[in-house]
């Protein structure tokens, strides 16, 4: 499901935990009644993690995502948040 960066099973487990944590943090942060829902789903989050792990500037990445969201708003607010767990 979630793309795993490490190679071992333990590490996979650890990675999953990390993703969980980060997801929770993201959820926490999302309480603002913003026009666009900043909720990241797990997949997006994991891709972001991998990008950042590879050295992408987090600020730039965040900007990109915000831009994209602003540019291409969701068709429906309800349709968002597809948790493909």
């Amino acid at each position: 499901m979630a793309p795993s960066q490490p190679q071992d099973a333990d590490k996979r487990q650890a990675a999953r935990e990390v993703i969980d944590i980060l997801h929770e943090i993201a959820t926490l942060l999302v309480a603002l009644p913003l026009p666009h829902n900043t909720q990241l789903n797990r997949q997006q989050l994991s891709y972001c993690v991998s990008l950042i792990e590879n050295g992408v500037n987090p600020e730039a990445l965040a900007n990109v995502i915000k831009e994209l969201r602003a540019q291409y708003p969701e068709p429906d607010a309800e349709e968002e948040g597809e948790e493909e767990t």
């Binding site: 943090i25 900043t38 997006q44 972001c48 965040a62 708003p73 068709p75």
Partner: protein, 860 residues
């Protein structure tokens, strides 16, 4: 590895974008793909061109930011708490390496409305970078002038990362090289925006090599082309130099100015020997400094020869710059500073004080550099001082042309109040000047030194024993050094002992000090009873006559006679030579008794101990004792006549004057008792005991001449005080004087009476003898009664008058004795109280304490 990273990034980005960019159902695939591609391209560009984050990679700071936002945006702190939990769990995870980046990412993701934050952060980045060269970042940004320092100080947004590199983070290894090249290239790139705040060495006027060339000269205090000494205390720096260079030159100027001042001081010549040695020590140090300057100059010259045409003429590579010179001269500057401080402090001082000043540096300063420096100087500076000390100790001579030693010679007093003779040689010729004692010598040490020199000098001049002094100095003299305190102390002690012992032996043997003292006691203090008795007998007839009829030669003849007939003839001729009789100054109306005195001549050097003042005291005591003796003698003769007469002449007149005779006898006995007690007291209690103390003091092994003088003075003071001659609150001498006068008067009256009765009897018996005119010739001052002219008054009246007079005198005597006893009892000295007790042993008198300023009250 970057390629695979790039691939992975692309992949991940693609994946992410697929999930992020929504698929609009109404769009067809192409549009969606297009959109996706556009998005991808945009994302890629953004990422590639993104500069480094402005904020430093601090995990905790990012967490703080998030927490703060949570607290700020939520009413309840639950979320913040939850976040804290999650954060701690995250931290414990080993997997994620860019924790900070993730947190920051999340934070910025949800941070959309704070666009001005972004803007201000960009401003921070901008304003923080100094005006170093041109950077691409500057283009395309708007300048928002913010208070950069303030923002930096309170950077809530996070500590700004120093923009050491302007390149994106991927090119980190490459950027490092580029950084260095940038820095080196800076001076070249300088001429486009020239910033005045940055040290621009190329544009120095005068250029740095010129300054370096001038530097050795300046360091020696000489003016040079660029750095001119406008006066001895001012160095002019060229005004066209930038401020940092001026700062460097200021630091370099300090040793230059110090050296100039010091060399001026060293050249000057004033102050005494110690000052001169101080100067020479300083010049040695300055020479070392000049050596340093020479080395520096060598270096500079070599460096300047290597100059090429590179930037700043490649001076950095040559190794000698102004900065480096600053570092090299640092220690020398400290030394120079210390020297000028010493010079400052020693401005008005000389001799011992100068040494004390330098010694205080060596002793109490905390910096070991200073201490060592001062020690070095001290061994040099104290050399003349030790020379003077040595000469003083071993030769007794003072060679002090500039008055630097702590012993100074005093000028002879020209008036006559000076004591003259050897005394003044001992006491006044030299004096110890405590202010000039240097701190390397303790006070007791200084005292000893003073004594030694004084004694040596005295021996040489006063005792005429120069030969011994010479031999001693030859044998014992040795070189004295600073820093050698143990040897110094031992040698001083030795010298002290030797000198003192020598002096005492001299006094004893060569000058017979003790003999003279005992002779004084014998003659002047009436110690030799037989001699005195004979003298008195032979002189008494003479001395009753008026003073102006006395002749010196008769007195001397009598003295010779007395000497020959007593034990005094066995004394050494030297002593006898000094004994002499003299007449004091006459005034009208005195009889011989009042002007006679013995005299003992004291010659130097013994008069150091028996000072002229002491001689006067001896005379005073002699006078008193002589008077007492006279009264005793007179009373004795009276008593004798009375006793013998009782059996002869007077027996015949018992009927008429028997009662009178009896009472008269009693009174005479009383007086005799008084006089005896007084004499005994003085002779034995006072004089002998004091003499014993004096002997003790003199026989002590380590007594010095000063000790002897003090002991003798104490001896005399004790005698005068206890002998009731001192000037105390109670006027003993006056009382005694009155008492003695009374007794004499009594005796006279008695004699008169006795003579009268003898005449009566004789006339009665023989009828032939008349009153001889001789009797009227005795003009006793006391018995000069007005109405007692013998020729014209009847015998009865005369007798009555005599009787009355005798009674009056007796009562007077009693009263005076009472008063005296009262005063004696009140004395703190036990001996005097003993005297009072002994006089009054049967309580016949009742002593009376005389109150001050009130009339006498006597209970008879």
């Amino acid at each position: 590895m970057s390629k695979s990273t790039e691939e992975r990034i692309d992949n991940a980005l693609w994946q992410l974008l697929e999930r992020t960019v929504p698929i609009y159902p109404e769009d067809d695939d192409e549009t969606a793909d297009q959109r996706l591609d556009d998005a991808f391209a945009f994302a890629r560009n953004a990422i590639a061109s993104a500069a480094d984050t402005a904020v430093g990679p601090d995990v905790h700071h990012a967490a703080d930011l998030i927490k703060r936002r949570l607290i700020r945006d939520n009413l309840s702190p639950e979320k913040a708490l939850k976040f804290s939990n999650l954060y701690s769990r995250l931290l414990s995870q080993p997997v994620l390496s860019q924790k900070w980046a993730m947190l920051y990412f999340l934070h910025s993701l949800t941070d959309a409305p704070t666009a001005e934050n972004r803007q201000s952060m960009a401003n921070h980045r901008r304003s923080h970078s100094p005006t170093v060269g041109a950077s691409e970042e500057r283009k395309g940004r708007q300048y928002v002038v913010d208070s950069s320092a303030f923002n930096e100080a309170f950077s809530n947004a996070g500590l700004l990362r120093l923009p050491a590199t302007e390149e994106p983070r991927q090119e980190r290894p490459a950027s490092r090289q580029r950084r260095e090249r940038t820095r080196d290239a800076e001076p070249e790139a300088e001429p486009p925006p020239p910033s005045p705040s940055y040290p621009n060495y190329d544009a120095l006027t005068p250029p740095e090599p010129a300054l370096l060339r001038d530097l050795p000269f300046t360091l020696q205090g000489l003016s040079s082309t660029n750095l001119v000494f406008s006066s001895s205390k001012i160095l002019k720096l060229p005004p066209t130099l930038p401020v940092p260079v001026i700062g460097l030159l200021h630091t370099l100027a300090e040793p230059c100015l110090l050296y100039r001042g010091l060399s001026e001081f060293v050249e000057s010549s004033s102050g005494g020997l110690v000052g001169q040695s101080f100067r020479s020590a300083l010049s040695i140090e300055l020479r070392a400094y000049l050596g340093l300057v020479a080395t520096l100059e060598g270096q500079i010259r070599r460096a300047l020869a290597q100059l090429d045409d590179g930037p700043r003429q490649g001076i950095g590579k040559a190794g000698v710059t102004l900065k480096r010179c600053v570092v090299w001269t640092r220690e020398a500057t400290m030394g120079l500073r210390l020297m000028s401080l010493m010079v400052e402090q020693s401005k008005d001082k000389k001799g011992g004080q100068l040494i004390s000043v330098i010694h205080s540096f060596a002793l109490t300063h905390g910096d070991p550099f200073v201490v060592n420096f001062a020690e070095r100087l001290l061994s040099h500076v104290t050399r003349p001082f030790y020379d003077m000390l040595r000469q003083w100790i071993y030769d007794g001579e003072l060679s002090d042309p500039h008055l630097e030693f702590f012993v100074s010679e005093q000028q002879e007093k020209l008036d006559d109040t000076g004591k003259g003779g050897a005394t003044s040689v001992w006491e006044d010729k030299y004096k110890l000047n405590a202010a000039m004692v240097p701190s390397i010598i303790t006070d007791s040490f200084a005292n000893k030194v003073f004594l030694i020199g004084k004694s040596l000098n005295f021996i040489r001049h006063g005792c005429n024993d120069a030969s011994w002094v010479e031999s001693y100095s030859k044998s014992a003299s040795r070189e004295l050094h600073y820093g050698d305190t143990a040897t110094l102390e031992t040698s001083i002690d030795e010298a002290y002992k030797t000198t003192m012992a020598r002096l005492i032996t001299l006094m004893e043997n060569k000058f017979h000090l003790f003999e003279h003292l005992s002779a004084l006691k014998k003659y002047l203090l009436l110690g030799a009873g037989d001699f005195i008795a004979v003298l008195m007998e032979s002189l008494s007839a003479n001395l009753d006559r008026p003073a102006n009829t006395q002749y010196r030669h008769t007195l001397t003849a009598q003295l010779e006679h007395a000497v020959r007939n007593s034990n005094a003839q066995h004394d050494s001729p030297d002593v006898l030579r000094r004994l002499d009789s003299r007449m004091l100054e006459l005034s009208h109306g005195e009889i011989g008794w009042d002007v006679f005195t013995l005299e003992y001549k004291i010659s130097p050097p013994v008069d150091v101990i028996v000072t002229p003042f002491g001689s006067k005291q001896y005379l005073k005591v002699f006078n008193f004792l002589w008077r007492v003796k006279r009264v005793e003698f007179a009373l004795g003769t009276t008593w004798r006549r009375c006793m013998t007469g009782a059996r002869g002449v007077l027996g015949a007149v018992t009927d008429r004057v028997g009662g009178d005779w009896k009472s008269a006898r009693c009174v005479v006995a009383e007086m005799v008792h008084f006089v005896n007690q007084l004499q005994y007291y003085i002779l034995f209690e006072v004089i002998e005991s004091s003499w014993g103390e004096l002997q003790e003091a003199m026989r002590r092994p380590d007594s010095t001449l000063d000790d002897l003088i003090a002991a003798h003075a104490a001896y005399l003071t004790a005698i005068t005080r206890k002998g009731l001659l001192g000037a105390s609150a109670v006027d003993f001498p006056g009382q005694l004087h009155e008492l003695l006068k009374t007794m004499l008067a009594y005796k006279d009256a008695f004699t008169r009476r006795q003579e009268r009765s003898a005449k009566i009897e004789n006339r009665t018996a023989a009828g032939k003898w008349g009153l001889s005119e001789r009797d009227d010739d005795i003009p006793t001052p006391i018995a000069a009664p007005h109405g007692l002219g013998l020729a014209s008054v009847s015998e009865d009246d005369i007798l009555g008058g005599l009787r009355g007079r005798l009674a009056h005198l007796a009562a007077d005597f009693k009263a005076r004795v009472n008063v005296l006893l009262g005063d004696l009892y009140a004395q703190p000295d036990t001996d005097m109280r003993w005297l009072a007790m002994v006089m009054n042993f049967n309580d016949v008198y009742s002593p009376v304490r005389r109150k001050r300023h009130k009339p006498l009250m006597s209970n008879g």
